[in-house]
């Protein structure tokens, strides 16, 4: 019975895949492209150093983000991930502007409704009662005598 197959990194680097190979958990042999792109952009040696400097529980996330950045750089050799960041920041700004416009529209509609309501009050000539002028004499013209 032969040993386990080398990971994608060791296959590409043409070396024996040690039991404690730092790449093996994250670059399985069934996905050779994943390591290929990371190696092309960052270099195996640099990736190894970066992973070794991290606690084990963070290495999976680190590899995923390195693969993401390497793919972005592969698609866009000039701007890489920074191009994506720039695009998303622009999208967020545009949405925030649209949000501000929509919120201002609500305020305008509400102010218009309030104004219309008070204008209609004036047209009906309804006096606004004054507490000081409200007494029985003014209503009945004389004191009520039972």
């Amino acid at each position: 019975m032969g040993g386990s197959s080398p990971c994608a990194s060791c296959k590409l680097l043409r070396r024996r895949c040690a039991k404690d190979c730092i790449f093996a958990p994250y670059f399985p042999s069934d996905d050779p492209l994943k390591f290929a792109i990371v190696h092309k952009v960052f270099g195996a040696s640099n990736v190894s150093k970066m992973l070794q400097e991290l606690p084990e529980q963070q290495r999976g996330d680190a590899v995923n983000s390195l693969v993401y950045e390497a793919n972005a750089r592969g698609r866009d050799p000039v701007y890489g991930c920074v191009g994506t960041i720039s695009y998303l920041q622009n999208q967020v700004s545009q949405l925030q502007m649209q949000l501000a416009v929509a919120q201002a529209e609500i305020l305008c509609i509400q102010m218009h409704q309030d104004k219309s309501y008070f204008l209609q009050n004036d047209l009906l000539n309804i006096p606004i009662p004054n507490a000081n002028s409200f007494n029985k004499e003014s209503l009945y013209g004389h004191d009520m005598v039972s």
Binding site: K40, V41, F42, G43, S45, N46, M50, E53, L54, Q58, D61, A62, N64, S65, L66, Y68, E69, R73, P77, V78, Y79, G80, C81, V82, G83, T84, I85, L88, Q89, Q91, V92, L95, Q96, Q98, L99, A102, Q103, E105, I106, I109, Q110, H112, Q113, Y117, Q120, L124, I126
Partner: protein, 122 residues
């Protein structure tokens, strides 16, 4: 004559040739810039990336490589990809907020169309 080496060649401790690929983008007065990219990408990979690009694009590529390297040094787990993730979340939140406010605008418009003036003398 004392010809000054670029930051890359100083860091790599080598002679800086007249056609050095790094010299236009890694001047000697900013050694950190090259130190960052060298730590993350390696001089050889940076050189290959720049060589494969037309000259007109290389300055921009060098800047973005420096930025990504700096982000990776600051955040060794997520690097620049972390910022992309945060921005996607912000985008989702902003889209939801906009949809809510637009629905509110539509509702208010419907209400104001149906609004009748109260008549107190009926």
């Amino acid at each position: 004559m004392n010809s000054s080496r670029c930051a890359a060649c100083k860091h790599l401790r080598r002679r800086c040739p007249s056609d050095c690929i790094f010299a236009p983008y890694f001047p000697s007065n900013n050694p950190r810039r090259f130190a960052y990219v060298h730590k993350i990408y390696g001089a050889s990979n940076v050189g290959k990336i720049l060589q494969d690009l037309p000259v007109s694009c290389r300055a921009q590529a060098a800047d973005t490589l420096c930025y990504e390297a700096y982000c990776r040094i600051k955040d060794p787990v997520y690097g620049c990809a972390g910022m992309v993730s945060v921005l996607h979340q912000q985008l989702n939140v902003a889209e939801c907020q906009l949809a809510t406010v637009k629905a509110e605008v539509a509702a208010i418009r419907n209400d104001s169309a149906a609004l009748t003036v109260p008549t107190w003398f009926d």
